[in-house]
Symmetry: C2
Subunit: 203 residues, 2 copies
Amino acid sequence: MSRSLSPEQAQHIEDLYGPLTQSLRRLIDVTIRSEADDIEVAQAHRLIEQAADLLSSRLDPGPFGVRTTTDGGMLPWGNVAIGMRNAIAPPLNVIRDDSGRATVDLVLEAPYEGPAGHVHGGVCALLLDHVLGATAHRPGKPAFTGTLTLRYVAPTRLGKLRVEAWIDSETESKTIAAGHIKDADGVVTVQAEGIFIRPKAKP
Amino acid sequence: MSRSLSPEQAQHIEDLYGPLTQSLRRLIDVTIRSEADDIEVAQAHRLIEQAADLLSSRLDPGPFGVRTTTDGGMLPWGNVAIGMRNAIAPPLNVIRDDSGRATVDLVLEAPYEGPAGHVHGGVCALLLDHVLGATAHRPGKPAFTGTLTLRYVAPTRLGKLRVEAWIDSETESKTIAAGHIKDADGVVTVQAEGIFIRPKAKP
């Protein structure tokens, strides 16, 4: 696949892989919760192998990387947090306002469990890293995590969550951001602060 | 499913779901990297739906939670970091020695990507949260993350990684742990420190 797609090509691939990846998210979930008969499980296993074989008929050898559209759009389809083609990604739909504030509403169920009935502390860290980092991205200048500090102030139950992040202070090369996760009752469960670095553009 | 299984039942379910979940991890990967024809992708989508329907013929309504074997074993099969039935989990195979040191060797490829060719910073945080936390678990006394501080000192390339964690100091109710991620060349890419809390057993 060429690294740069026309907007029409990109839309076509989204129409094809968006629903497939959504089905795959459901399959990940029911694989954890299934109590089906052995025969049904064995049959499901064969179907999964067949699906993987079909998709492997032609494969990009490397990871997805960064691809773009010819009109300058970014295609983060492989990204583990936001990727349209990555079934591990919830995926996060990050909404940013003019002040640089970033907000994500999401629902996490069985596939993101750590302690019984609760979101894994490491998944909370992943959410906060991504959403705090989103306040620091600039067009053509992605930001990389420098440091991240997390305080787990209450257990994060599986279910509806909101992740919010904002810019605390900023220079040309770095953003200091803060944020938190709130549960369905609006209770803050994890607080975070981080420094995000924008590498200098290569001359 | 009963919350407590005989060791034989547990082994039977592992034999059934272990290979299925491994196939599902492959399916997640090739969904990101596929360049198959539209017809093959559509066919793969139908097979994924059929597999999910089969596994949904009988479903546990809740997340997996904590289940045990009748001889006192733990079954963290749904866990997002280590779960045998959770295709999001790499899964981590945590090796602990007598000093409480915890080590994981793993390979992360396309499904864990953030910046092009690199592990997502949030995935690094998930790995370190889990492995530092593993130094603090005691039989029947899981530990919960209190605070976690991460310093990203070098980019973490996709590929072979080692995560190591050790106990810095400890009281009855909490463990202060430290650790890092090393890449295939043995270079430390992310350093971490954390406080992990063991809640008092209920009387």
